[in-house]
């Protein structure tokens, strides 16, 4: 049973088709990047998944049920749609308490999630004094209150500084590592490229690509730059896994058609030290733009 199932999901606003016959399924334990430019229909899709908007046609199921009919939804699914959904005059902790109380979670759980997102020190301050990064972490905390099996996050990296993006990436990796599922939307592929296992790419209401990140990378001939004291041995180890390499400047290897995860795993398995490991994101970003550009037929 897929965790999230969308079947022919469609939403029209008057003459405008915001989401057009969208079908996909997400399995447990995966991190899926939901990508597309602003206005592609990502948020509308998430709103239908989460029962905030009714589909014009098709259906969206979470754990085999429409969200609104799912018993104990808040304890199974954590979701964030906007990083601005606070009363500015309420403290961060009180904001979470208004939500936890509705599903009978104790205040101790509120303090737990505040600690988890590292907001304990600011918990009793009014939200209007929070930075955008703190607000992002507070909405994430609200999604975590029910200790959910599925996290749905709309543009969670918006406004985060690089350190915050890294923190979020590590957090989501940890979250998914024990079999839980993440669906994370973004209009910037690079933000999520190092986090997700698979991508759904939307453009103008339609699903244009549904694939693993690895395949997407391979498809665009993306490369990974890796620096090692034993470049020859590493090139050989990669060749055994059908990964081609070339030597770039400063003696780094460029591994083609793969991901940094894969190269790192191969190097580790071969016992070869790695000093630097970088996905050359530009080519991925290029194909993303190409796939989602308005000039696509």
């Amino acid at each position: 049973m897929p965790v999230v199932l969308s079947e022919g999901l469609t939403k029209r606003f008057g003459g405008l088709t915001a989401v057009d016959d969208l079908s996909f399924a997400l399995e447990a334990g995966t991190i899926t990047g939901f990508l597309g430019p602003n206005g592609a229909g990502k948020t509308t899709t998430l709103r239908m998944l989460l029962g905030l908007a009714a589909p014009t046609a098709g259906r969206a199921l979470i754990f085999d049920q429409p969200y609104a009919q799912l018993a104990g939804a808040a304890r199974r699914i954590g979701a964030v749609l906007e990083a601005t959904d606070f009363h500015p005059g309420r403290t961060g902790r009180d904001h979470l308490r208004t939500l936890s109380r509705a599903v009978e979670l104790p205040d101790s759980r509120v303090d737990e999630v505040l600690g988890l997102v590292e907001l304990t020190a600011a918990a009793r301050r009014r939200v209007k004094g929070y930075s955008l990064g703190m607000r992002q972490r507070l909405v994430l905390a609200s999604a975590l209150l029910g200790d959910p099996e599925l996290l749905v996050l709309d543009e969670p990296a918006n406004g985060l500084d690089p350190e915050g993006v890294r923190w979020l990436r590590d957090f989501l990796r940890g979250f998914a590592s024990d079999g839980r599922t993440v669906l994370i939307s973004s209009h910037v592929l690079a933000e999520v490229a190092q986090t997700v296992d698979q991508v759904l790419i939307m453009s103008r209401g339609r699903l244009v690509v549904e694939t693993s990140l690895e395949r997407l990378t391979a498809r665009v001939g993306g490369s990974v730059r890796v620096r090692s004291p034993q470049p020859a041995q590493l090139a050989e180890a990669l060749r055994r896994e059908q990964i081609e390499t070339t030597t770039g400047n400063d003696h780094a290897l460029l591994a083609h058609g793969t991901t940094s995860d894969r190269v790192g795993e191969i190097a580790f398995a071969a016992g070869i030290p790695v000093y630097e490991l970088v996905a050359e994101g530009s080519s991925l970003e290029d194909v993303f733009l190409e796939l989602t550009s308005e000039t696509q037929p």
Partner: protein, 244 residues
């Protein structure tokens, strides 16, 4: 439903807006209580009906109770907290039902404090000026209970209207314009219709006997009818409409 109602009460308690509403209610009750009790000519405070007006000045709390109810809904749409609220409680009828309940609990508090204070001020003024109390036992009980009940029901009316309109400014301006202008005009010129408005029904519920007003029981029934009608329309619309 009980958990959700507790959450809604917490929402009311955790913003400064509510504090502002309570302070506004106290200030206005003291002001109008003293104005009615001290500046009115002694002859204008002698009949039971005069004294009901002076001692029932706490019915002003109905405005603040209605505002609290309205803000409990429109504030969620204004600040976007309606999204997490519905994500945590996808059954929207439960959310609106809880807001109705919470607004009446809050309204009860507004009514008890407001009318308690209003009655005390009016009573002290009458005694201090040596004016004999023209109301007794049952009439005073009806005034106090009816006023408090009316104030509590105003909270639910606020929730119902706000669930229909959603926009904060629109809701507040609309309700104040209705309460202060339309109702008074209707009651003045078409009393047979005007007495069915929530404001005049609330006056009747408090035992006021102004000409054309309904009986207390009928006034109470009409006011409850308004609550039920607005709540049902608000519930139906909230269940159907997408949340942006």
């Amino acid at each position: 439903m009980i958990a959700q109602t507790r959450a809604e009460l917490l929402k009311l308690r955790t913003t400064r807006t509510t504090v502002g509403l309570v302070l506004g209610m106290l200030a206005l009750t003291i002001l109008f209580g003293l104005l009615a009790g001290l500046l009115t000519h002694a002859g204008g405070l002698s009949t039971p009906e005069d004294q009901r007006g002076a001692l029932g000045v706490g019915s002003l709390a109905g405005i603040f109770s209605a505002l609290a109810g309205m803000l409990l809904v429109t504030g969620e749409y204004r600040f976007g907290t309606i999204r997490p609220t519905f994500l945590f409680t996808p059954r929207r009828s439960r959310v609106i039902g809880a807001k109705l309940a919470a607004s009446m609990v809050a309204g009860l508090a507004f009514g008890v404090v407001g009318e308690g204070l209003g009655f005390a001020i009016g009573y002290v003024c009458l005694v201090a000026r040596g004016i004999a109390l023209a109301l007794h036992g049952g009439a005073i009980a009806l005034l106090l209970l009816g006023t408090v009940a009316g104030v509590a029901l105003w909270g639910a009316i606020g929730v119902g209207i706000a669930a229909i309109v959603r926009n904060q400014i629109g809701t507040i301006v609309g309700v104040l314009a209705w309460g202060f202008v339309v109702e008074n005009l209707l009651f003045a010129f078409v009393p047979s219709v005007g007495r069915l408005t929530p404001g005049e029904a609330a006056s009747a519920l408090a035992g006021l006997t102004t000409e054309h007003l309904l009986s207390a029981a009928a006034g109470g029934a009409v006011l409850v009818g308004w609550v039920v009608l607005l709540a049902l329309v608000g519930l139906a619309l909230t269940a159907r409409r997408d949340v942006g």
